[in-house]
Amino acid sequence: MATAFLQGLPQDRKLWVKLPAEALEMLGAPPETRMLLRKPVYGQLDAPRRWYLEAVRRLKDIGLRQHCLDPCAFLMYEEDFAIGRQHPSTSGALGERRLCGVICLHVDDMLGSGNAQSATYQQISNQLKQEFNFREWQEKEDLEYCGASIKVTTDEITLDHQKYMHKVKPMTVEKGQSPEDEMDQKGITQLRGLVGSLQWPAVQSSPHLQCSVSMLSANVTKGLTKSAIDANKLLKFGKENSDVALKYGPIGAVEDLRLVMMFDASFCSRSDGSSQGGYILMLVHQQALGPRIMCGTGNPSSCEELRDLRWPRKLKRQERQWMLLRWLAATGSI
């Protein structure tokens, strides 16, 4: 977005500013000139907020809905637009109201995606260009958004920080320093910067960095050289595995989607004796879950019960064969 803050809501208070001498000279104004700010400017604390409020107003005016759990995500439903009701999409729209596009807003960066075949999506895209003053409008298969590389192919969408990781530089550790030596304030600042640089890809696209970054963050305040060495090792690991990307491929029909959360905790594994926990959420096809427990009478209540699972006797032979076939098909045996 070009000059996003100047597109924000007008000031709701009177703010007078003194311009730099060069600016006054360019304007031909006397040195004692003071100017009244009518729009928020960069550096003003409430400028992002006023831009956000204005952006939300404009997006809602277009007809987009704000997600109730994510105020920076805006949803485009065909049912909300006349053109969408007249020309509904036959495929690629989600739900009864036919979700055909999503826009997310990160300060003044906007990222949108949707069903390109949808007439509604195309109309709203054009309307967006009129509503906002975009500095750059990219519609391509390989783009950068907030430091992340997004690649769109026919098979999948990938999100990675490969280019970002290659730009991060390790910090200098002087030779002969013992891991237990304390760093000076400059070293601690450098360490804090490096950990912050690693934290960004870790939370965006690189879950494999998260554990180490989390543990490292807790040690920054100690200011030991060991933390700097560990941070450099982690950076090396991150660079070596920077090709790892989050992949979003076509999984299947919406009704076949399942949400899987794998979670784990390790007790007393951090340097201060506290525990580390983590979870990973995955959207998968139901076949990835394998067969359900075949007992059919609910989940077993203990290991012993699970070991002693037997076919329910009330099932007929054909039913047992059918269930066996389904299980074999689900496990990929046939």
Partner: protein, 442 residues
Amino acid sequence: MDALEMACRYWEHLIHPELQLAELIGLKSSLHPVMVTDAKALYDSFHRDTINNAAVDKRTSLEVRVTKEQLTALGGNFRWVSSERQFADGLTKESARQLLADRLRYGKIKLVWDPTYTAAKRKTVEERNRNMEEHAVTRHEHEEIPTEEINVVRSNEVIKYVDIAQNVKVSENVIARPSHVGHPNFLDYLNGFHNFTHYLNGFNYFLHYHFGMVILLLSLLALEWMPGAEASLLEDNQCPLEEPPLEDMMSSWEIFDFVAIEGFMLWNALIIAVSYKFGQRDDIKKGEEAAEMAEILHKQVEESLQDQHLKMQKCAKEKHDAAHQYMRALSLATGEAESLGELVLEAVKICHRAQRELEQLSAFHPMYKRLWIAKHGTVWHQVEDCHHLQNCSASNVVERVPCSTCACAPQTPFIRNQDGETLLDELGSFVRLVLERDDHPS
């Protein structure tokens, strides 16, 4: 659990934007969420209908029940996987981060139902490794083989000298055209060309022989032909239009000569035709045999090529597997070496402290102290100004030094091993050795 519910509600709002959040929370999720753990105790507690009275931590039991209620309200279920299949390990243990990266690189997952419910610690190392690598791909496997390498591996030259030369007897013509190997019509073309040449050679020989005969016959014929056109001088008074006398016409011998020559010519023509026909048939037969041979040869070459290709693929796969195993072993070894190095450093720190304390202890050892004894007293004093000594007169206080044998030999700072070194000496040399190795790593 909260994160899972948040994700489910987020999804449901996409589908039902008209519903308020309070209404959404009352719905079951269409995603049928699944929570996966590798803790058997947690899994058993979750699925047990009653609160486990044996559990020491009642708070944990309560929280498990709350989680169960929340998950049931979402319409989800709870599953268990063996630890080596647990993806979230990489989020809590630094040692598992490489495995998590490899799994993310692979990008696919399948939860496998284990009917035996066997924990990771009860499995063999090979089984665990196999399960771990089931949905993982290392960056070395991920990197594609450069195109040049593929060309080298699949080049005709390699096939020509290694495969064909050893297994199939191939004519020089085949080897001389490696660029055509693999083209399905190459050998057919070659054999057709060969047959045609062979046929032409035979026909040329046939033609040369019979052409000479024909020339000879034509020469003879020129001498004799035609009797009826034989020139003769006219008589002076003979009219040119007058028919010659009968005796000037063909005699019976001449007729016989003519018939014989003509017959000979016809016979030769017949022989030519028959020889040509038989030669052609023979050549065709030979050509067919050669074509069959060529076809067999072609099949052998193709089979050999396929076999070699499969061998190369297998070999490449084995190499990749070996490289993968090696890299993983190297990674494990590096990790172990690092942890070992940390242990050694910790040990050195402890040794260093022990050394310092031993030195301090040595400084305060009675060996280095003088003793004062009251002549009739029962104790010895370490400090000359001890107030107990003040009660005695100066003449009654005797100064002594410890016995160098009994005060030193059996006590810690001075105990020597069979090499004559004390504990302090050994600690000092060990610390120096480690520090030197650390400064100059080999």
